[in-house]
């Protein structure tokens, strides 16, 4: 049995595959590919397939990782070839190789957020709101959290979760590149950031397209 990491992109129609559905999608793609999956022992036996970091539905990604445990010694190159043929439209296998970092090491992620506005004035105004928000002490959003095991709405300041932003205005389109906290302890979905700014601005973009570019570790080095 060995562990191998599959790097893939998720674009186009595949962005509508939710995190949970992606797990099922991979299990089936791997089975179709004839890759010998390792199964857990015990009564409720299942394959070991772990997606490094969940990606929100309707967001695209340049580079995602999924770890699988396999039996036998099928070479990574062969896995890549076989799996490339059995993934649904929109999921491309980029690389298959030995995992380096533990997924627990993921601490940040790079995103590109493309926002579209009715006109360049709105885009400019929104840009200003972003810059203003970033300078303030806190940017509060309502987030579903847990209190004593029960689900409750709570206010969270998301500013500490934003590490870096880079804005580029082009007509009615505003591109926001951001490095934000990611992982199981601290995590920020950039859509939440856009929502928070929209609330301040009292208007929102006509459309928001979010792409995750990279996964990063604590010291902002690429997760590998």
């Amino acid at each position: 049995m060995r562990l191998t990491r599959i790097w893939f992109s998720k674009k186009g129609r595949a962005k509508y595959i939710s995190h949970l559905d992606l797990y099922r999608t991979f299990t089936r793609a791997v089975r179709r590919a004839g890759i010998p999956l390792w199964y857990t022992e015990g009564f409720n036996t299942h394959p070991y397939i772990t997606i490094a970091l969940p990606l929100a539905i309707m967001q695209e990604s340049d580079r995602e990782a999924v770890d699988i445990r396999i039996e036998n010694d099928m070479a990574n190159e062969e896995i890549k070839q076989k799996l490339s043929a059995t993934c649904p439209e929109g999921i491309e296998i980029i690389d298959v190789r030995k995992p380096w970092d533990d997924p627990k090491k993921i601490a940040f992620a790079d995103y590109t957020v493309m926002t579209q506005f009715a006109n360049s004035d709105d885009a400019k105004k929104f840009e200003a709101y972003i810059l203003k928000s970033l300078k303030e002490e806190e940017l509060l959003v309502e987030k579903m959290g847990k209190k004593n095991g029960r689900k409750v709405m709570k206010e969270v300041n998301i500013l500490p979760l934003v590490n870096k932003t880079e804005l580029a205005l082009k007509g009615s389109e505003l591109r926001i590149k951001m490095t934000v906290a990611a992982g199981s302890t601290n995590n920020l979905n950039p859509a939440l950031f856009i929502d928070a700014v929209s609330q301040k601005a009292e208007f929102k973009p006509l459309s928001v397209n979010i792409t995750r570019n990279r996964l990063l570790t604590e010291n902002l080095k690429e997760f590998e």
Partner: protein
């Protein structure tokens, strides 16, 4: 392409994965290289439609042709419908994301009566006139198949062509003909007059229906080239019949997400309430070799880890022991679960039980259907109380602790005594658990009783019977609850207004078309969904059209009344159905088809052949 526009509205709807396609094994073709574009429409949600075997078969069958491209279409949920209407997005095929109004064929599968309003809604969302007569062009031709087509009359205003029976062969023949007429530039009428020359094609526009003063049908007359009787199509040999080696694998979770293998068509049992048991006759079996090969190919191409055998009564398949042996020889190693629905309790052998223990343990379901032996004899459900109890005992010894029991309320001749019998039988099953020394240690038993309301259906011996009124059904439901004294037994019911509507559509005539249209205009859709069904609107719609529900649902017909579906020939002779009805009222049973041929007449469709006659249980 609609993709960009969809991309903007999909964030506003639930489960957007239903609406984008792109699933593994979905078929993409070059539209400029095909002659016929076919939209296969399932008038319910994606999750339900994607679980339907018939759709998978016909999708692949059409796409196996180079000259045709079949795409899938489902009923958008209300949130998506709202977005589509607001943004002027017409109903589209999931493969090309192009509007189906530009396709050549639009095919609906009518699996249950309460999906009828969705058909209208989908045509309207496609931006097509809902009425057949208002669609003047040759294409798109709107066709419909599926079990409800045995009485197509309530939908006759909306559908151009119905295909009664099995679609595997007639679909291709119809596509060939349409391709030819499209090339010739024929008009719609010319095409339809030619189409009805194909066996198993019914075009309602070529039939005139007249009525008596009391509202019953007086006469159904065929015009022009149309045959007086439309004989349903069947496939003679299931082994050589087309069967897909690929299924589209949905990314989102659907109801049945697995490899499904059909093992035989028809049913030997002849339960008198069961429409499927008569509609799919004669019996034709697929060989275990073929089924095994098809399962292998399908699991390989889909990656599914579950296979379900599909038929009306799995344990009546003569090849079952042989098939299980073949399947288990590779499924265990490949970590594939087998599920065997529709097992009968009277031939649930020890051997079969042992094999079942090797496969995954799912719930155990029995369908005694009626509470007393007398009533079980009336409906010809040839199961005894001893059989139910001894199978329950075997199952409890085998480790099962939950049992589901299916019954029906409102069966012909039913009395409160029979209703009480349901509670008593359930209690006996509970007792069987506690009297069993081999029962699972430290566990309790749960018996769920599901009591559906009986709906009389065409082509069954009960097609002339009156359905119990909602009040009568309510009384019986209450009585059943009163008679149930233990907490180990949970009782659930079907909603009575839903069953009433089903009964109306099942035996409705052409005039019911107007009611469906009126109800749809009032906003009725997804009628099979409890949270969407709006009975008051249906009551209004009937009143608007000057018709009553009880005329269709709660009226007993005489044997000589002309039935709205009398021009449909499903092979079953009326004389046989009358004889069975009379036997029912005398509580006389009819042995199953392998014991003795009951002479239903359907083997005439298959050159006199029926596998119930020449295949016995030992193989």
């Amino acid at each position: 392409m609609l993709y960009e526009r969809l991309d903007k509205i999909l964030p506003n709807v639930q489960k957007p994965g239903r609406y984008v396609g792109g699933e593994y094994n979905s078929v993409i073709k070059d539209k400029n290289k095909v002659d016929i574009r076919y939209a296969f429409c399932f008038p319910d949600t994606y999750e339900i439609g994607m679980s339907h075997l018939g759709m998978k078969i016909l999708y692949s069958l059409v796409n196996a042709r180079e000259d045709a491209w079949c795409e899938r279409v489902f009923a958008p949920w209300t949130d998506m419908e709202e977005e589509m209407r607001k943004n002027n997005i017409p109903l589209y095929g999931l493969e090309s994301l192009e509007p189906i109004k530009d396709f050549d064929l639009i095919g609906f599968t009518l699996q249950y009566e309460l999906s009828y309003t969705n058909v209208l809604n989908m045509l309207d969302l496609a931006q097509l006139p809902i009425k057949a007569a208002d669609r003047k062009e040759l294409t798109p031709i709107v066709i419909a198949g599926g079990s409800c087509v045995c009485n197509p009359e309530p939908m006759s205003e909306f559908i151009d062509i119905f295909l009664p029976g099995e679609g595997e062969e007639v679909t291709n023949e119809l596509i060939d003909l349409l391709k030819e007429h499209k090339k010739k530039g024929s008009d719609k009428e010319t095409f339809i007059k030619e189409a009805v020359k194909i066996k198993g094609v019914y075009a309602p526009s070529l039939y005139d229906v007249s009525y008596n003063e009391d509202g019953t049908v007086k006469e159904i007359k065929a015009r022009d080239t149309a045959p007086e009787k439309v004989e349903k199509r069947i496939v003679k040999d299931l082994d050589s019949m087309y069967f897909p080696d690929k299924f589209v694998v949905p990314a989102i979770e659907v109801v049945h997400d697995r490899t499904t293998a059909e093992i035989f068509r028809g049913c030997i049992r002849g339960c008198r309430f069961c429409q499927a048991g008569f509609l799919y006759r004669p019996i034709r079996e697929k060989s275990p070799e073929t089924v095994n090969q098809q399962c292998l190919a399908l699991t390989e191409s889909t990656g599914y880890d579950e296979i379900s055998l599909c038929s009306l009564s799995t344990s009546d398949y003569t090849g079952l022991p042989s098939l299980l042996e073949k399947l288990l020889s590779w499924t265990t190693d490949d970590r594939i679960n087998l599920s065997l629905p529709s097992l009968r309790i009277d031939n649930f052998s020890d051997d079969l039980m042992e094999k079942l223990l090797e496969v995954r343990r799912s719930g155990l379901t029995f369908a005694p259907e009626a509470g007393t032996q007398r009533l079980r004899d009336v409906i010809n459900k040839n199961i005894t109380e001893e059989e139910v109890l001894s199978t329950a005992k075997k199952a409890f010894s085998g480790g099962w602790t939950a049992v589901k029991l299916y019954f029906m309320l409102g069966l012909p001749t039913e009395t409160l005594e029979d209703v009480k019998g349901i509670a008593e039988l359930a209690q006996k099953v509970v007792n069987e658990f506690y009297n069993n020394p081999e029962k699972p240690k430290g566990k309790s038993v749960s018996v769920s009783v599901s009591a559906a309301s009986f709906v009389p259906k065409p082509f069954t011996p009960f097609q002339w019977e009156a359905q119990a009124t909602p009040d009568e059904l309510k009384e019986k439901q209450d009585y059943l609850l009163e008679s149930t004294t233990t907490k180990k037994v949970r009782v659930s019911f079907h909603k009575t207004p839903t069953s009433l509507m089903e009964a109306v559509f099942a035996r409705g005539d052409r005039r019911v078309s107007a009611v469906i249209e009126s109800a749809w205009k009032k906003g009725c859709k997804f009628d099979s969904w409890d949270d969407q069904f709006d009975f008051d609107k249906w009551v209004e719609a009937f009143a608007d059209c000057g018709l009553t529900m009880d005329f269709y649902a709660n009226r007993k017909r005489s044997f000589d009344e002309v039935l709205p579906w009398d021009h449909m020939d499903y092979g079953i002779s009326k004389a046989f159905l009358i004889k069975e009805n009379e036997k029912a009222h005398n509580a006389q049973t009819t042995p199953h088809c392998r014991e003795k041929c009951a002479g239903c007449g359907t083997n005439k469709l298959n050159g006199g052949e029926c596998h119930a006659l020449n295949k016995n249980m030992v193989q």
